[in-house]
């Protein structure tokens, strides 16, 4: 009823009397109101004066006699353009209408029409809602009371323009000049919320009252709503927390339907958190039980250990973040500095992301809500690639064709593509030049891109539907949800469905006890078929189907020349045709993963500030997978061929592997983790309540177990479920004289099991002391013990600890006069967190078993010991200010940090004479320094229009300060080119050759540090390379703007990543035969190849090296990497993207009432628009390999989402 009340109360064009007359019942009530309450005379006058003014400019002309109501309504709709909303059953009992009016106002006409009908109406916006009248007006008064009252400011003067609404309902009233508000149909047990900028929001229970007067207090006394941050161990008022916490805007988080990934949804919303965008950032969880986007909090502070933060859900660390439904998340806290994270001990150096799921609210009636969306991603966009088209490709093939270097008879086991066959046929004199040319010309005219898209890809979409219920009483409340997530990828035949249930319950059996039980169950069911994903890197003229739609054989792709294939086929009697499209249904993989996560939280108040808190978590993730490869698959036929002995076509072939059935693989995985945490907390007030002391201490034990076992059956018949028994011993000794192979050795293990169990025991303590409510100091300490490293030895870690302080400046007396400052606080923290060097024992050589049926099983060394390793420690200093000014118009925080990591763990080159090329060791010391800023501003806030902005900015710069042990190989080009860390430079480093152009042979030259220009292989040392920058953005963050006009809102989220560099994708083919790898759908070349050096003099116009067919000549004459890894091919990876833009519409409740819906919202979203990029090569840095310069084709260009949220 948003508009309805606004029109009455605010607009001078409104006519209160006429509007109120719309409904008799309201009218009666209004009369009562006006006379019973002594309203200020001015108001009364105004109300009366307004009577004559028309409520609506719309007029109606009608002349009806005994017309059907529907007909009359339809005429009015046509004349006014208003929508008339009613259900057929509502107007069933309506009588005939007789009326004659000319240019009468709509509302009057309606009043007349409905006077004698069992119906009532209301007008809002441009809609007329028609509903049934109640049996009598008296009942009507009771069920539709008009809640009213006056809102006062701190001096008890009426406050105009304050927003009044009922918690959980969409309707909002705004107080008029006299501070008066009216709300129609308030729920008897609802809660009234009154807010005004600069004042503290007040909430009052309605409890059957009709009149509620409220006095607001100025917000500067306690300006902000209490923001709670959660460390997983304790909940803190953000205002009082000394540590650095980040919180994403949960509204944007909830709306980002373009991805179901929790980490991706936080991109650009938390200062200091860099989400690694694009496919490159997607990594499996530790146990491979799902994937999620990776993020880095405050820069790289570890070199080889995982850089992802740890994830905590409802107080317990979990491995599989993908089991959580984004719709169930109530709150996320990102712990950034030592003070925030040190309580997580040895594993917290990368930061912690703490997620709390939704819970029920005491006192609410049971509320249901539905949220659903569909995001359509479509097919991959090949146009972003830089490969040749068919005619360019054929031209390149003609130019590089060299039968002298690559004679026909040396190609028996090579890929000979159709164009290549034509060229060889011509050179061998089998066909004439003109026949060859015409064949090649016809290939030049074919473009396979559209066919590939049609045949191998489908339109991808993702949809998530969640239905939830919540409610409860003071002793019990709950939140439960059921959701279905369907991920329909662009891969043919792939399925990926996730079903999730969550149930969060809180039980308060007595005032002193609170028990929370949180359960999340997630079931992921998926599968694939035998599809391939060819793209523009495939030979551009090769079609998969001929003109009449028959699937084509692409035999040559498997790398056997026609003669070889014919011979193999004849001897083995195995068909070696290969048609990719026919293989689609010849095999599958299926997986079914269940994740169960339960957490119990028990809080008992023992006495006088002493309380006990127990957290008990259990996660179990059983998973099953199976895969079947039919013997009809080419790969299976080829394998069989390699185990087939037939020396001539006359001899019956002997098959050493089953030639029927298929290969059936099953896998079972099991993971479980449990956590038991007991802690005691004590809070007391000292100095007559001026100071507050809070002490907590606790113990935690944890176990993690995971196992994976797999079985492989051969010759498996899916229907009969029979399989063949193999002679593994004979096969592992090798089959001699097999076709296409001298000897084939079969080392497949029919059964395999891997398992790992790790245990931790930790002790921790927390302390905080607040003086005069202005000065807060706190500290934490934690020590972890684990079975992974020998106890009692030096490998055990020193404890992780932190301490910090906060000064709430705005609470000082001298700040009281500064009215414009709402809040100001200064924080300083310091602490140490660490990383264990060992996933496994590092002080000993790690061995691995090898099964060998001929000489018996054996062991070999997989990783050599390095007993000079020590723990990686990160010392973090953080200081920040939190502020709020201009009565809530602008607030934010700024943080500066210094992270100093000593004994950085990573891969260091070893002297190869030790028997190891590299070793896991302490690299050196790295510093990370950075600045973070989060700003939230309310730029415009009027009842009709609002504009607010969120700005998140992070700057991070790291530098490798020292190297523990310099190895001479670090001075080689090969090492420097691939090094992630180089002393004195920001990591991860990117180096390049200093390019000096081509010489008169088209060979690339470089300039060394001393100025010499050379093309000699290995002429450069590390110091001859130029540092181009780092592949990690220095600046990143986001900018969100939300515009609201009435019920419509538009949110645009931009993200930016600035300051990184990347290699661009250049041609890498300069020698060898233009061919493809057998079995892969490659073969095409970068279009830059066309611009290469071809003749002397070209060096003046191109930087792209010449092509030299003979690999030996090319390799000894020059190094083409001097070009591909040259400085001219390193470009800036800075870019700004419009990540998503969302248009949403809040349906007004009056409309919804007829549908028994409390609130509804529909929204549409799209995104992934490049706003600005620093490179001129049309590279989207999110899809570029920064170090190797490979360009990947995005799976989609712009996703489009439609979604709806409904509460009822």
């Amino acid at each position: 009823m948003y508009k309805f009340y606004k029109d009455i109360m605010i607009s001078t064009r409104s006519c209160v009397t006429s509007t109120l007359r719309l409904s008799g019942s309201v009218n009666i009530l209004m009369d009562k109101l006006l006379f019973r309450r002594a309203l200020p005379a001015g108001l009364l006058c105004m109300l009366l004066l307004l009577v004559s003014t028309a409520a609506s400019a719309q007029t109606v002309t009608l002349s009806e006699k005994n017309a059907r109501l529907v007909t009359v309504l339809e005429k009015m709709r046509k004349q006014t353009g208003y929508d008339f909303m009613y259900s057929t059953s509502t107007i069933k009992g309506a009588g005939p209408v007789t009326i004659t009016v000319k240019n009468a106002p709509l509302d009057r006409v309606l009043t007349t029409i409905f006077e004698n009908q069992p119906l009532q109406f209301s007008i809002e916006d441009r809609s007329v809602v028609i509903s049934k009248k109640s049996a009598n007006s008296v009942t009507e008064v009771i069920t539709h009371p008009l809640l009213h009252g006056v809102v006062y400011d701190e001096h008890h003067s009426p406050l105009p323009g304050a927003s009044v609404r009922i918690d959980g309902y969409a309707q909002i009233a705004v107080t008029n000049d006299q501070g008066i508000y009216f709300i129609k149909d308030p729920p008897a047990r609802g809660r009234l919320m009154v807010s005004y900028i600069g004042y503290q929001t007040d909430t009052v229970s309605i409890t059957n009252r009709n009149e509620i007067n409220i006095s607001l207090t100025l917000a500067s006394m306690n300006m902000q709503e209490v923001v709670i941050v959660n460390t997983g161990y304790q909940k803190l008022n953000k205002e009082r927390a000394t540590g650095s916490f980040g919180k994403p805007d949960m509204k944007i988080f909830a709306e980002r339907a373009g991805t179901t990934d929790i980490v991706s949804r936080m991109e650009g919303l938390v200062a200091g958190m860099t989400v690694q965008p694009g496919f490159k950032g997607v990594l499996p969880n530790r146990y491979g039980t799902g994937t999620n986007q990776q993020s880095i909090i405050r820069g790289n502070s570890t070199a080889r250990l995982p850089t992802a933060p740890i994830y905590v859900v409802n107080g317990v660390q979990i491995e599989n973040l993908s089991m959580v439904n984004t719709d169930d998340i109530a709150d996320i806290s990102v712990l950034k500095d030592a003070s925030a994270a040190a309580i997580w001990g040895a594993r917290a150096a990368n930061g912690v992301i703490v997620i709390t799921t939704k819970s029920g609210r005491a006192g609410d009636k049971v509320k249901f809500s539905y949220s659903g969306y569909i995001t359509i991603q479509g097919k991959p966009d090949f146009s972003s690639s830089r490969y040749m088209n068919s005619s360019e490709y054929i031209q390149a093939a003609r130019e590089t064709f060299d039968p002298a270097v690559y004679p026909w008879n040396s190609l028996s086991n090579s890929v000979i593509a159709p164009h290549d066959l034509i060229l060889y046929n011509q050179s061998r004199g089998l066909i004439t030049a003109s026949a060859a040319n015409s064949s090649l010309d016809s290939l030049s005219g074919i473009n396979n891109q559209q066919q590939i898209k049609d045949l191998w890809y489908r339109n991808a979409f993702t949809t998530n539907q969640t239905i939830s219920a919540s409610g409860g009483s003071s002793v019990y409340n709950f939140y439960t949800s059921l959701s279905y997530l369907k991920n329909y990828s662009n891969q043919l035949g792939a399925t990926d469905n996730t079903y999730r249930i969550s149930l969060n319950q809180t039980i308060n059996p007595t005032k002193a006890i609170r028990i929370s039980l949180n359960t999340l169950i997630s079931n992921n069911v998926g599968g694939t078929k035998k599809t391939i994903s060819p793209g523009p890197e495939f030979i551009p003229y090769q079609l998969f189907q001929d003109a009449s739609g028959n699937n084509q054989n692409l035999n040559y792709i498997q790398g056997l020349s026609p003669a070889t294939r014919a011979d193999y086929q004849a001897r083995s009697r195995i068909n070696l045709d290969y048609s990719p499209l026919d293989e689609l249904n010849l095999g599958y993989t299926k997986n079914n993963m269940l994740s169960i996560n339960t957490t119990a939280d028990v809080n008992i108040k023992i006495f006088k500030g002493l309380s006990f808190n127990g957290t008990y978590g259990y996660q179990k993730m059983p998973g099953k997978s199976s895969g079947y490869d039919d013997s009809g698959l080419y790969a299976m036929r080829k394998e069989l061929l390699n185990y087939t002995v037939a020396r001539s076509t006359a001899i019956a072939p002997v098959y050493y592997l089953p030639s029927t059935g298929g290969r059936f693989v099953t896998g079972n995985s099991d993971n479980y983790n449990w956590t038991v945490r007991n802690q005691l907390a004590y809070t007391t007030q000292l100095r007559e309540g001026k100071d507050v002391l809070n002490v907590q201490a606790g113990q935690e034990i944890q176990e993690q177990y995971n196992s994976i076992e797999s079985t492989i059956l051969r010759g498996y018949d899916q229907n009969l479920r029979t399989y063949s028994l193999l002679d593994y011993n004979t096969l592992s000794q090798g089959v001699f004289g097999a076709i296409g192979s001298f000897r084939s050795v079969f080392n497949e293990q029919p059964y395999n099991i891997i398992y790992e169990r790790s245990r931790f025991r930790s002790y921790f303590g927390l302390l905080s002391y607040s003086i005069d409510n202005k000065y807060i100091i706190d500290g934490s300490i934690r020590r972890d013990y684990s079975n992974l490293f020998a106890s009692g030895s030096s490998s055990q870690k020193k404890p992780a600890y932190s301490f910090g302080g906060k000064w709430l400046i705005s609470k000082e007396d001298f700040m009281k006069s500064q009215n414009w400052i709402d809040q100001l606080g200064l924080r300083v923290t310091y602490g140490i967190t660490g990383n264990s060097p060992a996933q496994a024992a590092f002080s000993q050589d790690i061995l691995q078993t090898e099964i060998n049926s001929s000489y018996g099983n054996s062991l070999f060394i997989v990783s050599p010991k390095n007993d000079k390793l020590s723990w990686e420690s990160t010392h973090t200093f953080n200081t920040g200010i939190d502020f709020g000014v201009l009565k809530g118009r602008l607030n934010g925080s700024i943080d500066f940090y210094l992270k100093n990591t000593t004994d950085l763990l990573g891969t260091v080159p070893a002297n190869p004479l030790t028997g190891s090329g590299s070793v896991f060791g302490n690299i050196g010391n790295i510093t990370n320094r950075g600045l973070e800023m989060s700003l939230h501003s309310v730029n415009i806030e009027t009842p009709a229009f609002g504009w607010s902005t969120n700005f998140v900015f992070s700057y991070n710069k790291n530098r490798l300060v020292s190297y523990s042990a310099i190895d001479p190989t670090q001075n080689t080009v090969g090492n420097r080119m691939n090094a992630r860390n180089v002393v004195g430079y920001s990591s991860p480093t990117l180096f390049a050759y200093r390019y000096a152009g081509l010489d008169q042979l088209g060979d690339p030259q470089i300039r060394l540090a001393d100025g010499t220009v050379t093309k000699e292989y290995d002429a450069a040392k590390a110091d001859d390379l130029v540092y181009m920058g780092t592949t990690q953005p220095k600046f990143n963050g986001g900018l969100s703007n939300t515009f609201r006009y009435k019920s419509l809102s538009l949110t645009a989220n931009m993200i930016y990543n600035l300051g990184a560099v990347m290699r661009r994708d250049v041609n890498g083919f300069y020698t060898g035969r233009m061919s493809a790898n057998a079995g892969a759908f490659g073969g095409n070349l970068n279009e830059d190849f066309l611009l290469r050096w071809r003749k002397p003099g070209d060096e003046a116009i191109t930087d792209i090296p010449s092509y030299v067919a003979n690999q030996g000549i090319s390799g000894s004459r020059r190094n083409t990497e001097y070009y591909t890894y040259a400085d001219i091919n390193v470009v800036s990876a800075s870019y700004i993207k419009l990540r998503d833009i969302t248009l949403s519409y809040e349906l007004s409740s009056g409309l919804l009432k007829t549908l028994h819906i409390d609130a509804a919202r529909v929204y549409a979203q799209t995104g992934n628009f490049m706003i600005w990029k620093a490179n001129k090569y049309d590279i989207d840095p999110e899809y570029q390999g920064y170090v190797n310069g490979t360009r990947t084709i995005p799976a989609f260009s712009h996703p489009f989402t439609l979604g709806v949220n409904v509460t009822f």
């Binding site: 040396s410 038991v676 013990y785 090898e850 054996s858 062991l859 070793v919 190895d967 290995d1018």
Partner: protein
């Protein structure tokens, strides 16, 4: 719920967690393994990497460097750069981005052997006898590795200069953190090898677990070879004789295949097809019939690592050495890999995937014959030669020509030719070239390599004398910039 109940709950919970205390962390991390028992060390010595270089390594490079081979240009030009350079006797075969698998694999094995030697004494659960076997094997394996290193990177042994000629660093610890190494002299390395073999001989049993594990005969035979290479002929002969005796006494003595029988109808190697003689040891590294100590390396076409021998054919000189009745010719045909005929008619090895380079019984005969010839026991030498030749060809052809048997130098030359016939295209020849070049008993020779073009043109490469000693590969010099390389 009253206060007493609450306190009881807390105490119970507290007890529960502390009850788990004692053994909670006393759990070996599963899924990883460390060496502790004698059996663990025995299994480390059973590691396939110590006796089969099955994808790269071994003497792949040396195969290309012997003058017993030539190249077909049609295959040569498409070969990898390292293979071409090895064949051309280039100074440096490896560039920064090439991997020298041979040395990488050897050095990794050296780490394992040093670990076993250092730790086997403290291992648990084994008898002293069992530990001795493992220790002896590790010593012998390390000595064998060092014999490889010194023959790759040290000059051929010449007593007068061995004390100053740079050899290879002597590494006896398994420690990845060591940063600097320096090259020991050729003499020091030979002494080190001798000590290791002596330690091995003292510890090894007459019969080993299998032929891929050292037994006493193998250690003695190889030490004798080392003596022969360093001119200690008398000591060598003594040990050769002991090695033959120990081999005979072993539970499964190495023995020569009699090709006359095996190639006859129904014999083991019958029939010979385009994929080579049936069931020959060359296709099965598990066939250790002729091995005193069996070590094998992958010696066929390029398969993604190493060199590949796709372009190799026998040199005309080597082809000419064979008597047409020599049954060893059954292992050669005018064929490229994958059974493709070579129209030029030049021979290449067929039906061979692995070549053996530990110690073959045939080489033991040839080494003892050479040793006897050097000690001027020409008759004894002829007798050993005849044992081998009789197993390789019909008796009618087996006799050593009188001219060859007449003088020490002629007989030595014949023995070297016999080595070439026995081990053609298996890498042995390059090591013999090193010895010939440094041996006054041999006439000075110029070694050349021919590349045959399809058009009949022949490109010739000539070996510089310095290249009989390989230069340290890039990956070693890069990490050891102060280590002098060979000229």
């Amino acid at each position: 719920m009253n206060k007493h109940t609450l306190i009881t709950i807390i105490i119970l919970l507290g007890l529960c967690t502390s009850a788990c205390k004692k053994d909670f962390l006393n759990l070996t991390p599963q899924g990883t393994q460390v060496a502790a028992t004698t059996e663990d060390y025995r299994q480390l010595m059973n590691n396939k990497r110590l006796f089969v270089y099955d994808f790269a390594g071994g003497w792949q490079g040396q195969v290309l460097m012997g003058d017993d081979v030539a190249a077909e240009e049609s295959r040569f030009s498409s070969a990898r750069s390292v293979s071409q350079k090895a064949f051309q006797w280039a100074d440096d075969i490896f560039q920064s981005d090439d991997r020298d698998w041979t040395q990488e694999l050897y050095l990794t094995n050296l780490y394992t052997l040093n670990k076993v030697i250092a730790e086997i004494g403290q291992s648990t659960g084994g008898t002293e006898e069992q530990k001795k076997v493992v220790l002896g094997e590790a010593y012998a394996s390390r000595a064998w590795l060092y014999f490889q290193f010194i023959n790759f990177f040290g000059k051929s042994y010449v007593k007068a200069t061995a004390g100053t000629d740079p050899g290879f660093p002597i590494i006896t610890s398994s420690d990845v953190t060591v940063k600097t190494f320096s090259r020991a002299s050729v003499q020091e390395v030979y002494d080190f090898i001798e000590t290791d073999f002596k330690n091995a001989i003292a510890a090894l049993p007459v019969t080993s677990e299998s032929a891929v594990h050292f037994n006493r005969a193998a250690a003695k035979g190889l030490l004798a070879k080392v003596y022969l290479f360093s001119g200690r002929n008398t000591e060598a002969l003594q040990l050769f004789n002991e090695a033959f005796a120990d081999n005979a006494a072993s539970g499964s003595p190495a023995r020569l295949y009699d090709y006359n029988a095996e190639f006859a109808a129904g014999g083991k190697f019958d029939p010979v097809s385009s994929s080579g003689p049936a069931n020959s040891p060359g296709i099965n590294y598990l066939d250790v019939t002729e091995s005193v100590i069996a070590k094998s390396f992958y010696n066929t076409s390029y398969a993604g690592n190493g060199y590949g021998n796709d372009f190799i054919v026998l040199s005309s000189k080597t082809t000419a050495l064979y008597d047409s009745a020599d049954l060893r010719l059954n292992f050669y045909a005018a064929q490229f890999p994958y059974q493709e005929p070579n129209p030029s008619g030049r021979l290449a090895k067929i039906g061979v995937q692995y070549s053996k380079f530990g110690l073959q019984i045939s080489e033991l005969y040839l080494l003892r014959a050479e040793c006897k010839a050097r000690l001027n026991d020409l008759g004894g030498a002829l007798a050993d030669l005849l044992v081998l030749r009789n197993a390789r060809m019909p008796a009618s052809a087996a006799m050593v020509p009188a001219s060859a048997a007449a003088t020490q130098t002629a007989l030595l030359a014949f023995i070297f030719d016999e080595r070439e016939r026995e081990f053609a295209a298996e890498g042995y020849r390059w090591f013999d070239m090193r010895r010939e070049a440094a041996d006054p008993l041999f006439a000075a020779k110029t070694y050349t390599h021919s590349v045959y073009g399809d058009d009949g043109n022949v490109t010739t490469y000539t070996l510089r004398k310095e290249r009989l000693t390989m230069r340290l590969p890039y990956f070693i010099t890069a990490s050891n910039p102060n280590m002098p390389n060979n000229p």
